[in-house]
Symmetry: C2
Subunit: 130 residues, 2 copies
DNA sequence: TTTAAATTGTTATAATATAACACCATGTAA
DNA sequence: TTACATGGTGTTATATTATAACAATTTAAA
């Protein structure tokens, strides 16, 4: 079991927004949405995002520069993430497959090196778009 | 077998630079390096990069916004890529493991969907840094 | 040769992210 | 209690990454 991090005010505001969003969010659209709550500057957003990523409450989709709430509690420990991304509508889904995560955690490169931390992004078409 | 793309002048200049670089390169450091060859504007660099990525001659490391020459000829067909990234020195190595690529190409998400296109970034410490 | 597609050159601007500094809250150790 | 360390906040300014829009040129087919 992982340790609970109590969120600070800014972190909570931004986490709630991302968590409720039906789509991954961009940093500046987060900024726009929270301006009425007194968060006015990009840095305030990025600092909260950094922390939320660090503690595993959200993930950054690196190929898209968007943020999504985690829906797989084991991420908060492992930093091992996998997503599918629709190339038409940009829908992102977090993948939680024990088989996949075991395979990747046990994968050894040609130097015999293992990696417990990774990020995998699958690209294709979602149900609706294909 | 894949079709050979003859590179245009700008594409060739930029590919050569990246290919010879011992490290992955950032777009604006590429721009700086090729200014003596007459490439003056960011767009000229980004257009060449886009094309080179599209035809699989280089890859973008999404978590770092850097570009690296491909060292795995099958990428030029598949768009299925995997890298290891050192979190200290930022050394990037392209992984070509038949086992890994087969596993990922055959992976099905819970809707039974397969993805032939993916990007995997492993994080850890390289030989020198650990 | 005509035409379509791709590439180039250029200026300007958008989108993403961090530096630097002052201040404040909270916990903890002397 | 006081000092100190740690982490969060607010703010201004700036750095970094990437694209829009438009005109001109080259290339490769039809
Ligand atoms: Zn997660
Ligand atoms: Zn879709
Ligand atoms: Zn490759
Ligand atoms: Zn290293």
């Amino acid at each position: 079991m992982h340790k609970e991090h109590p969120l600070t005010k800014n972190q909570q505001i931004i986490f709630d927004l991302i968590d409720k969003s039906p789509e991954p969010m961009k940093a500046y659209s987060i900024l726009f949405s929270v301006q009425k709550k007194g968060i006015k500057a990009p840095l305030q957003v990025y600092r909260a995002l950094d922390k939320l990523v660090e503690i595993g409450k959200i993930h950054k989709i690196e190929s898209r520069n968007v943020f999504i709430a985690c829906h797989n509690s084991s991420c908060q420990v492992s930093k091992a993430t996998a997503f599918s991304i629709c190339e038409i509508c940009e829908k992102v889904t977090e993948i939680s497959s024990t088989g996949l995560s075991k395979y990747l955690a046990n994968f050894k490169d040609k130097d015999g090196m293992k990696y417990s931390k990774y990020n995998l992004e699958f690209f294709g078409l979602c149900k609706k778009c294909r």
